[in-house]
């Protein structure tokens, strides 16, 4: 956009150089004098009662300072106020292989490890519930005492409009069942934390976390310290993807160890421990039923999702809702019913992974629609394109769509990929597939109920014109620090390099809720806009007086403030700053952001609302080897409606990363466990299969700009949405290539061959789940749809 100086240009990230030269210090790079090292003893049992722990031998090892057990940290915590079910170290029970049981602080890791081996724990094994079916059937064995039923963490049932009526109006109704395997984030950086308790009675925790504010709250709660005596600093994070958004046992443990020893204490998880800490993608079994008219127009949809939650709550209540909430924001769905259940099992806890609860239903929905289009002889693109949501509008479940560039996204990828010439026309073994998706730009509600802003920004300015931006947001590699710098630089008319960004330090920076739900660019960005505009107003007022030009005629750019009508007439930025400081005293400004109030008023309406929704459309082209079953993705065309690309290079980076992660989930990533003992079968980067650069296809990106009214400069999210269409586009392409439906992610070579063999024997060739557990669903909460949907029954 020509109107901008900074926005829309491919500036380097503000932290690019230190990262490239290796100077960036991650949590594990911190070293302090007298530092101790901590290690955590973990449960070898999937489910067991702790009868006795004897730490005396461990304590006696020379070099060991403290040994902790659950009794030292009995207060429960958890990210959501409704699921405070974790203990920093298990007190009475362990619930999965890898659950933390005891911890040691010692002079080095060798000593700490040796001490761990000397801790004697007597367990009374309990039956391990390793599948959802087992957990639902075995109601006499309880993993937790709370929830919506035996081993049921959460049960949801919502109905928007009369779905029965909608199905009655349909010409065609189709049901499908899909399974989406669990996977993990696999950040390159393993979680690390360092704690120090100073003689001033203050505790500092440096951690690789996406959510310093929530860690701050959890530490205060579990340690029983007043929050003002705790400081949490999020270090640059070497990849998060949702895996570092909970408060973690190891963070609390090092903090406690620092309190007890008065020495800095560090912990770095091993790669294996990262697999146990997990919080990754929930395995989801999903049943979907859709009624359509002959032309493909949707009349009703009913979705049931079963989430295998693992051993703890984490974000699971939100995840459960997310498997149902966003189906409505792509295509017009006039009546919608959602039932969801999250089941506790004795496996590492699942949580938010990039796309949080939405890739699973998106996979189901987009493959399901592809099948419907084929059943009815419709063009799959046209069928979708005809019923895209309007903007502005409210969906049937009361989500407000403020902008939607999906149509443009579809057109770009369909044209660029030559989809129409290729679809159902390529030779056997080669195929193209299509899918769309949408994602939220930040959760509309905070994790704990409060009326305060979700993000705050403070700006300080020095007399030479240097600007420092303070914000609680945590840069996890996505570039949120850079976004703050670009936005402030744009508004003040300076360059990104003039801006210093100080973030994610609970002592220094105003609260930002954290780097999750794709919220930072929109929320911290809006807060930065507000703060920078306030500051600019002061500068303009001072400059206007000096230049004798009306304030509203001034412009700030290229480190100057000048008269638009007569650009020669102006001041250097630094000069304006000095004038303003002389005039108003010390300069500074704050800004904050709170999302618009969500229009929905029903129980469960808190999950799904967002200031805006991003949209993506994708075409995947694949080659399937019918003898080996290997699927090779040759190319991905993807268009993403990002509202506005504050920095197109960063947006493309997010898209490439999303394609990569979606590719891994589609083809190979899968969390697997020993069927009886619940031991993770592949907790290493060698055995857990994630694609290498060689599997990565060529990616052609298109950025669609819709200038959303709620975004800073119109921006929406880019970090998660582009992942969502990848698995279904690949699945649809595999079908196009070999005529076999793999309704189960990942699409492994074994499954492809199984499908082909079935087809050769005269079967349908479909591979995937065929039933869902029987479960008595509660009466749905019936929600009256927004007025515009109420008449849709008369559409006939």
């Amino acid at each position: 956009m020509s109107g901008f100086n900074v926005i829309g240009k491919p500036w380097p990230k503000v932290d690019a150089l230190p990262k490239c030269t290796g100077e960036t210090r991650y949590a594990d790079d911190l070293h302090f004098p007298r530092m101790l090292y901590a290690k955590i003893l973990r449960s070898p049992h999937a489910h067991a009662r702790i009868r006795r722990i004897d730490v005396s031998r461990a304590q006696a090892v020379p070099g060991v300072h403290v040994v902790l057990t659950g009794r030292d940290l009995p207060t429960r915590f958890g990210i959501l106020p409704v699921s405070q079910d974790e203990e920093a170290l298990c007190v009475e029970k362990v619930r999965f292989v890898g659950d933390p049981v005891a911890a040691v602080a010692a002079v080095d890791e060798w000593t700490a490890e040796e001490a761990l081996r000397l801790i004697e724990v007597e367990y009374e094994p309990l039956p391990a519930l390793l599948t959802m079916e087992q957990a639902l059937a075995e109601s006499s064995v309880r993993i937790h005492e709370y929830g919506d039923g035996p081993n049921i963490h959460k049960l949801v049932s919502l109905e928007f409009g009369e779905v029965a009526e909608g199905f009655a109006q349909a010409d065609y109704v189709r049901e499908d069942i899909f399974f989406y395997a669990g996977s993990t984030h696999l950040p390159l950086e393993q979680h690390a934390a360092v704690a120090h308790y100073g003689p001033d009675g203050r505790l500092t925790l440096w951690s690789s976390t996406q959510t310093p504010h929530y860690v701050h709250r959890a530490l205060a709660k579990v340690l029983g310290l007043p929050p003002h005596r705790i400081r949490v600093i999020a270090m640059p994070v070497g990849g998060g993807f949702g895996g570092k958004s909970d408060p973690f046992s190891h963070e609390i443990v090092v903090a406690k160890l620092a309190l007890l020893t008065g020495r800095p204490v560090k912990i770095t998880l091993t790669r294996e421990e990262v697999f146990y800490v997990h919080r990754g993608r929930h395995p989801v079994l999903l049943w979907i039923k859709t009624g359509v008219r002959r032309d493909g127009t949707i009349t009703a949809m009913h979705v049931r999702s079963f989430l295998d939650g693992g051993a703890y709550g984490s974000y699971g209540v939100a995840t459960t809702y997310y498997t149902g909430a966003l189906q409505t924001v792509t295509y017009k769905i006039p009546r919608y019913k959602f039932e969801g259940v999250r089941v506790f099992t004795n496996k590492p806890p699942c949580g938010p992974k990039r796309g949080h609860g939405t890739p699973q239903p998106r996979f189901a929905l987009e493959v399901h629609l592809d099948k419907i289009a084929e059943d009815l002889g419709l063009d799959p693109i046209q069928m979708r394109r005809r019923q895209i949501v309007e903007a502005p509008s409210l969906t049937v479940n009361w989500l407000r769509i403020s902008s939607c560039g999906l149509r443009a996204c579809i057109d770009r990828v369909v044209e660029a990929s030559g989809f129409r010439e290729k679809f159902r026309r390529l030779p056997f073994g080669r195929g193209v597939g299509f899918a769309c998706s949408a994602y939220l730009s930040g959760a509309g509600l905070p994790i704990y109920w409060n009326d305060m802003p979700h993000s705050g920004v403070q700006i300080k300015i020095d007399r030479e014109g240097g600007v420092t931006v303070f914000c609680g947001s945590a840069d996890i590699g996505q570039g949120s620090d850079s976004i703050l710098a670009y936005i402030v630089a744009e508004i003040l008319g300076i360059l990104p390099e003039d801006v210093r960004v100080v973030t994610a330090d609970t002592d220094l920076t105003p609260v930002d809720l954290g780097s999750y739900s794709s919220r930072v660019t929109v929320m911290a960005g809006n807060a930065a806009v507000e703060a920078a505009e306030r500051l600019r107003r002061l500068l303009f007022r001072a400059a206007a007086e000096r230049l004798d030009v009306p304030e509203d005629q001034l412009l700030a750019r290229e480190r100057r403030i000048f008269d638009q009508a007569d650009p020669e007439r102006g001041l250097d930025f630094a000069e304006a700053v000095q004038l303003a400081e002389a005039r108003f005293g010390t300069l500074g400004a704050v800004g904050s952001y709170k999302p618009p109030k969500a229009p929905g008023r029903y129980k469960g309406a808190g999950v799904g609302p967002s200031p805006s929704y991003s949209y993506s459309a994708c075409v995947a082209q694949v080659r399937v080897d019918p003898e080996t079953g290997f699927v090779q993705v040759e190319k991905i065309w993807i268009a993403h409606d990002v509202g506005r690309a504050i920095n197109p290079r960063l947006v493309e980076g997010q898209i490439h990363g999303s394609v990569y992660m979606g590719l891994g989930e589609a083809l190979m990533e899968e969390h697997t466990f020993h069927s009886r003992l619940g031991v993770h079968t592949a907790p290493s980067m060698l055995d857990y299969k994630s694609p290498t650069p060689l599997e990565m296809p060529e990616v052609e990106c298109f950025l669609i700009e819709t200038e959303d009214p709620n975004g800073p400069f119109g921006a929406k999210e880019a970090g998660q949405g582009p992942l969502l269409p990848i698995p279904p586009a690949i699945a649809n392409a595999v079908y196009d290539a070999i005529g076999v439906r793999i309704d189960e992610i990942p699409i492994t070579p074994e499954k492809v061959l199984k499908g082909l063999e079935d087809k050769a024997r005269g079967g349908s060739g479909r591979v995937g789940p065929t039933s869902i557990p029987s479960l008595t669903w509660p009466e749905p909460i019936r929600v009256e749809p927004p007025p515009e949907w109420r008449s849709s029954g008369d559409l006939t």
Partner: protein, 336 residues
């Protein structure tokens, strides 16, 4: 992070010195070359030697001489990357070049050696895990335990021979020169391996593999096909090494060796006999592939379903033979 256990490290400069240190420390000692196999296993406490004897400074092991026409001597401590940089060698022994080029990923090939590759430990899902993991699942026969979860009730270990180099060396008819406290011996590569997941090498612990002698290649054609989930990093879960001596379209001599489907590389003599005296016609190829798949019995202790690996033994054998018959298999290269 996982820490290496403490150990003493020796870097002798001669074979004699190395042998002396090895015999001084007996079963406490272990040979190390690039360490790419050994160190990760030490971190996971699968192997816990108190003494390591590096062979990388011993001049005899860094030997590299000869040509495809007269045969080649490869010192055991040459890195895979070094071997792959020898254009002449790559051309003369295409199967070997393919196998080495598909070992792990570039950093491992820069450190990992020929000798280490041929002596690489057997692998198993239940064994290549940390101490904590093995304790949680229950230790197995190969280390610290008394049972085998892969074949419960049995008394042997079925860990998988996972070297890409081994089946190729056998197919090429390579010979290995070993030096030990009781002197020197040169054996056929085939004799070096034992069908036992624990004692998988026919070698005394103190014996040092000094060099590999590759025979002249003359009329031999060779290739190697490898099954793994990803195009890099992964160990083989099936390797098909084929070497054929061809005379104007007729196969005079054949060696077909399957890797990573058992505890040692396996020569499929029945399949070789089927080929010998025949042209590489489609029906011959199909029959050979059938025999190969029938002869291997992969178990459930690697990546991929074991029955899938068995099926792929046939597919990969066909592809290897078709390639040697001159077909262009660019389209199928993806699964390799």
């Amino acid at each position: 992070m996982l820490r290496l256990p403490p150990f003493r490290y020796y870097a002798p400069r001669s074979l004699e010195e190395a042998l002396r240190i090895l015999s001084d420390h007996g079963s406490q000692a272990r040979i190390v070359a690039g360490g790419t196999d050994l160190y990760p296993k030490m971190k996971r406490r699968q192997i816990e030697p108190a003494v390591l004897v590096s062979v990388r400074r011993i001049p005899e092991l860094a030997h590299l001489a000869g040509t495809g026409r007269e045969g080649v001597t490869l010192g055991a401590s040459l890195t895979l990357a070094r071997v792959l940089a020898q254009d002449e060698l790559v051309l003369a022994y295409p199967a070997l070049a393919r196998a080495f080029a598909m070992v792990a990923h570039p950093p491992v090939r820069s450190m990992g050696t020929v000798g280490g590759n041929l002596c690489v430990d057997t692998r198993c899902t239940y064994y290549d895990q940390t101490f904590f993991w093995r304790e949680a699942l229950g230790f197995c026969l190969k280390k610290d335990g008394t049972t085998c979860p892969v074949a419960p009730g049995g008394t042997r270990c079925w860990a998988v021979s996972s070297s890409d180099g081994a089946p190729v060396m056998i197919a090429l008819g390579a010979r290995l020169r070993l030096v030990g406290p009781r002197g020197e011996r040169t054996i056929a590569a085939e004799e070096f391996y034992r069908d036992d997941g624990i004692r998988y090498l026919d070698k005394e612990p103190e014996e040092i593999l000094v060099e590999v002698l590759l025979p002249p290649q003359e009329d031999w054609k060779s290739t190697y096909w490898k099954l793994r989930r990803r195009g890099s990093v992964d160990f083989p879960v099936l390797g098909v090494a084929v070497a054929l001596r061809m005379e104007s379209g007729w196969c005079r001599e054949a060696r077909i060796v399957l890797g990573a489907v058992g505890s040692c590389p396996k020569r499929i003599r029945e399949a070789e006999t089927l080929l010998e005296g025949n042209r590489l016609e489609p029906d011959v190829i199909a029959a050979v592939a059938h025999v190969v798949a029938r002869s291997v019995r992969p178990l459930k202790n690697t990546d991929f379903l074991h029955l899938y690996r068995k099926k792929m033994a046939s597919v990969f054998t066909q592809r290897a033979l078709r390639e040697l018959a001159g077909a262009s298999l660019m389209d199928e290269a993806s699964a390799c």
